[in-house]
């Protein structure tokens, strides 16, 4: 499988095609339901976010606690569709990649094309395997949200499939 370094470059995004398998390595942020709601509340109030989304890849995930000697517990993707109402706004702020599972709305697909971004599908349910591929974890915002807080992960060879590419190619819309 093709190895992809994070953060993503525009050129790398250009070369990713829906349906292709990739191994992601580098730095990502986590964020799921509550974190997305809170990010948008910051934006509504016109406040600066506690972290910058420019060029980042966000992983829709809420990890299990880390056992001793590990950076993270079990940590597979959650259903991306629940973040659909927030995602276009984050993409407009410069978010470049999303990792989750399952189909996205047409609006998100259009925002991916408009913002030259990419959506990766991780394999839902493979929590132990992904948890093991997380080499470093740092809590960076919203600690009160517990597993829904925003973490920065360093990942190594995270197996994913390109689900929606920057031209609108979409693995869920194959005939």
């Amino acid at each position: 499988m093709k190895k992809v370094k994070l953060p993503l470059t525009d050129e790398e995004i250009q070369n990713l095609k829906a349906g292709e398998g990739v191994l992601l390595s580098g730095s990502i942020l986590t964020g799921r339901d509550c974190a997305h709601k809170r990010i948008c509340e910051y934006l509504d109030r016109g406040e600066k976010l506690p972290f910058d989304l420019g060029g980042e890849t966000i992983y829709y995930a809420g990890p299990c606690p880390a056992p001793e000697g590990k950076a993270c517990g079990s940590c597979g993707p959650t259903t991306s569709a629940r973040m659909d109402s927030f995602a276009p706004r984050l993409l407009d702020l410069g978010l470049k990649g999303m990792i989750g599972k399952g189909e996205r709305s047409d609006e998100v697909e259009r925002a991916i094309v408009r913002c030259h971004a990419v959506y990766f599908a991780a394999i839902g349910g493979a929590g132990a395997l992904y948890g093991n591929a997380i080499k470093k974890s740092e809590l960076i915002a919203f600690p009160d949200l517990l597993s829904e807080a925003v973490y920065r992960f360093e990942i190594e060879d995270f197996p994913c499939v390109v689900a929606i590419d920057c031209t609108g190619g979409n693995i869920y819309k194959k005939t």
Binding site: C64, P65, P67, G73, A121, G125, L146, K174
Partner: protein
């Protein structure tokens, strides 16, 4: 009359939570292995191979198979000749859940429905008790993930809809769920009863072995017909397209009212986890 200490119940729940969250049930693993051999597309096979590899990693590393260690659902059959000494039964269950989710590094996923504030210990559990004959307690622990729970539906059909209506309701639920509930899924179906008992039957159906058939021949036929139609949808593993959208359909039945035909469809992802013990 047999005395059973609430500590024994708490410890049993603790062990069941550990067993359930770290492993797939063997009939689920077998179904995934079979699916991996029949899928033709590269992405579908990749998805299934990853899941089988994941379970090995979970066992070896003692990590939860899926990070969604679920809402703890406990089905208890309590013999009417049992006397529970000590705590209230539901308190013993919740204490077992609380300790297990902390000690085994499972995710705490229970929150207030309005404020979304996490209860921080994965309680309360959903506890269903049934009084049966005898002097034993049978416990079934089902950690229920919500990616799939969210895609479940309840239909109040008219009696005229009949068997075809039941099958259509099952297939429609799966079609609308698409790639979201982590296919290949396991489908639990409740047929009959009331609005509330029908939903419980669907949950109970998910505690059956994947691939098992209802002993009633006409119900078994519904299970087979629904499974065939679901797998003709082409959603496939993870929604990447393919032959395996579901690994099983299990229907449980109860008498209903002359005016109605309730059908509940409870979706379980491919991560079928369930543990049982008898005290």
């Amino acid at each position: 009359m047999r005395n059973i200490s609430s500590d024994t119940i708490e410890n049993a729940v603790y062990r069941l939570a550990e067993e359930a969250c770290l492993h797939l049930i063997p009939s689920c693993r077998t179904a995934l292995e079979k699916a991996a051999k029949t899928e033709e597309s590269e992405s579908a096979r990749f998805a299934l191979d990853t899941l089988l590899q994941n379970e090995k990693t979970a066992g070896a590393e003692k990590m939860a198979v899926c990070q969604d260690t679920g809402y703890a659902v406990i089905l208890a059959k309590i013999g009417q000749d049992v006397h529970i000494e000590g705590k209230l039964f539901s308190d013993a269950v919740n204490d077992g859940v609380r300790r297990a989710y902390e000690d085994f590094y499972f995710r705490k996923s229970v929150c207030d429905p309005i404020t979304r504030a996490n209860t921080a210990d994965n309680t309360p559990a959903a506890v269903h008790t049934e009084i049966v004959e005898g002097d034993k307690i049978e416990l079934t622990f089902l950690p229920k993930g919500f990616g799939s729970e969210n895609m479940s539906r309840l239909y109040m059909l008219t009696p005229a809809k009949g068997v075809q209506g039941i099958i259509d309701a099952i297939v429609e639920t799966v079609r609308l769920a698409g790639s979201k509930p982590c296919p290949p899924i396991y489908v639990g179906v409740g047929i009959g009863g009331t609005f509330d008992t029908c939903a419980f039957l669907a949950k109970k159906a998910l505690t059956r072995e994947v691939g098992s058939r209802n002993p009633r021949a006409d119900v078994a036929k519904i299970e087979e017909a629904a499974l065939e139609k679901i797998n003709a949808l082409g959603i496939g593993p993870q929604g990447f397209g393919g032959k395996t959208t579901a690994i099983g359909v299990s229907c449980e039945l109860a008498p209903t009212h002359i005016a109605g035909l309730p059908v509940a469809v409870n979706i379980q992802c491919h991560c079928v986890r369930c543990a049982k013990s008898v005290i």
